[in-house]
């Protein structure tokens, strides 16, 4: 009891006292040694936030530069914040409506670039861009074309059925499918540890990714899951997580990766008392011409700011609104080609 009571203020003190010592991307963390759990694993416990405005891919505006000077970084951050901001009135009525999810909803951490002033979250390939796509097989091409048609109907405000909506809109999965990428809000992840397990609970949706780190084998390859099947191991102070066994549903994996050949390796390294480096490598020889890797800093959330339940399906009024709206539009003679684009949005 006493240990726990003392531990809590200690965490607070650590958060307050920390200097900004997060190492540069790609550099091995120096001097910092992660605390250990009583059973000897590196301690990653806490609530972490991965929000940033630094884009996944390097924008053309910064040329080949991978890290910016202080002045360049300030300008880059302002430019990104302007583009992400939805509290502006420069796009006409339709744009206004589609910016209804404005700063009231946005995680303010989402408007800041990474502390190391990189121009892309991707660190490999060196150009900071997702590698070229491999031409899909005819079967996969058919699946992607069908999915694109559904997305176009939804974007036009004319979904024929709930199946035209994306899996996140349908609340089947959201940002809990790896890789974990920053989004407009709810960029929180709580890590729990117990002997033999590391458990990551993404805020959105309320799933828990319970990762065995005891060396057991993966599920048989015929048992697929929406979030795949995950195994972890420790390499020094880094938690290395491999995930396979993804379901075949089109539109769950990033960029339409092929569930039959896709694997993701994630590395979690505590590099300061208030920072984890989250690095992931995407490998899929039938989707990308080479593997690629991104690094996203996770920053510790003040313990006073608790993670809260994110319910989604339970009050998913949007599905009915989208569908009844579409039926009215049909009656008025609208079609996907006649309708104004960007009539719908992903967030909820």
């Amino acid at each position: 009891m006493r240990t726990r009571l003392l531990a809590f203020p200690a965490v607070l003190a650590a958060v307050v006292a920390v200097g900004l010592v997060a190492p540069m991307a790609g550099q091995a963390p120096r001097k910092y040694t992660a605390p250990k759990t009583p059973w000897g694993d590196p301690d990653l416990q806490g609530v972490w936030n991965d929000a940033t405005s630094t884009p996944l891919q390097r924008p053309g505006t910064v040329g080949q530069k991978d890290v910016l000077s202080d002045e360049e970084a300030e300008e880059f951050q302002q430019s990104l914040a302007h583009d992400l901001s939805r509290d502006r009135r420069d796009g006409g009525n339709a744009a206004d409506v589609n910016r209804a999810y404005n700063e009231h909803w946005m995680d303010s951490r989402r408007l800041k670039i990474t502390a190391d002033k990189r121009t892309s979250l991707i660190v490999d390939p060196p150009d900071g861009r997702i590698p070229a796509l491999v031409a899909p097989s005819p079967e996969r091409q058919r699946g992607q074309t069908a999915r694109a048609g559904q997305a176009a109907r939804f974007a036009a405000g004319l979904p024929e059925n709930y199946t035209d909506m994306s899996w996140p809109v349908r609340c089947v999965v959201r940002t809990d499918v790896p890789p974990y990428l920053p989004t407009i809000y709810n960029n929180n992840f709580q890590i729990f540890q117990s002997p033999g397990y590391v458990t990551i609970a993404p805020e959105m949706i309320h799933s828990a990714r319970i990762i065995p780190v005891d060396g057991r084998p993966h599920l048989n390859s015929n048992l697929k899951q929406w979030l795949g099947d995950t195994r972890g191991r420790w390499e020094g102070s880094t938690l290395v997580v491999e995930t396979t066994n993804f379901r075949a549903d089109e539109g769950v994996l990033f960029q339409g990766a092929n569930p039959a050949t896709f694997t993701i390796t994630e590395r979690f390294t505590r590099v300061a008392s208030d920072a984890i480096n989250y690095e992931f490598t995407m490998t899929d020889p039938t989707t990308w011409t080479r593997p690629w890797t991104a690094l996203i800093p996770w920053n510790k959330v003040d313990p006073a700011e608790q993670m809260f339940e994110y319910a989604c399906h339970e009050d998913n009024f949007d599905i009915v609104h989208f569908l009844t709206g579409a039926r009215v539009r049909e009656k008025n003679g609208e079609t996907v080609s006649s309708s104004r684009p960007a009539g719908a949005r992903e967030e909820k």
Partner: protein
């Protein structure tokens, strides 16, 4: 020393309490052989120094069909599915057998049961009026999550949190240990604050959404629901689970349920996904689709 004495007295009280109350709840006849759990069982310690509840657990009662005594029953559409979907018989897990409803609340419970298979989500305001939330794949709330026919995983580390991850719809709840702050707003799985009383994890649950039910029989509560759960290890493979349920809007007095939880022992067992949203979308949303041209 004083602390230890108090803890011992507390433990003795718990044991005496269980001794007096638990056997009849199993449905055992008085005088029959009762489960021979050692009355003084002391669980192995977790890294936090408290009884180790880590692992995958499951209830094997049929309370999800009805907390109270119930006979076997056909499924909703026996003409389509035969014995598939039929409900098993079971004995009440409610202390004393009956839930102490206020008269008007009992009428509502019966209406819930009559309407348990109906759904109408055409109006946001009456979105939750009809149908068992389980059928709609909504997070089940507490205590229902504990006795649904699905396993759950307790993650007990060293932080001031214990996580319970449930297989049903991948619901989770965080138990905040020795926590002062009360529920900031209502949620489906509620606001859980825990404390140890000797060998027992006591969890105080408030802030639950009023829309969850206790079972498929329509037993329900209001947003004034207050649940106090007690998890007490009884052997390496069993825990006793008790929940005291209080809701002055619906019941005339607090009442109690109890049943054992069993540790799942299969080698390499893990929680799998029961993501049931796709199983319920046609029921909820199918009627809003584009109709074929006539």
């Amino acid at each position: 020393m004083l602390r230890r004495t108090i803890a011992f007295l507390g433990l003795a009280a718990v044991v005496a309490f269980l001794w007096l109350t638990v056997p009849p709840l199993f449905g055992q006849q008085r005088g029959a052989a009762t489960p021979s759990f050692p009355a003084t069982y002391r669980a192995p310690r977790a890294p936090d120094g408290h009884p180790d509840l880590n692992g995958i657990w499951q209830a094997f009662v049929t309370a999800n069909w009805d907390l109270q005594d119930h006979e076997a029953q056909p499924g909703p559409h026996p003409e389509l599915t035969g014995a598939y979907g039929a409900g098993p018989a079971g004995q009440s897990i409610v202390e004393g057998g009956e839930i102490p409803y206020k008269p008007e609340a009992l009428a509502r419970k019966k209406a819930n049961f009559e309407n348990r298979l109906k759904v109408d989500v055409s109006d946001d305001k009456t979105w939750h009026a009809l149908g068992d939330p389980e059928m709609k794949c909504y997070m089940p709330g507490v205590p229902r999550a504990t006795y649904m026919p699905f396993p759950f995983h307790i993650v007990q580390g060293t932080s001031p949190y214990i996580l319970i991850a449930y297989e049903f719809t991948s619901a989770t709840r965080i138990i905040r240990m020795d926590w002062k702050q009360s529920a900031p707003v209502d949620s489906w799985m509620g606001w859980s604050r825990g404390r140890w009383e000797g060998e027992t994890l006591v969890v105080d649950v408030t802030g639950q959404r009023e829309e969850t039910w206790f079972d498929r029989a329509g037993n329900y509560h209001s947003d004034a629901l207050h649940v106090v759960e007690r998890y007490t290890p009884m052997s390496p493979y069993h825990m006793m689970y008790e929940a005291t349920i209080e809701d002055p809007n619906v019941f005339t007095r607090p009442w109690k349920i109890s049943f054992p939880l069993y540790r799942r022992m299969e080698r390499n067992l893990q929680l799998l996904e029961f993501k049931c949203v796709p199983f319920t979308e046609e029921l909820l949303f199918g009627k809003f689709r584009k109709q074929a041209a006539r």
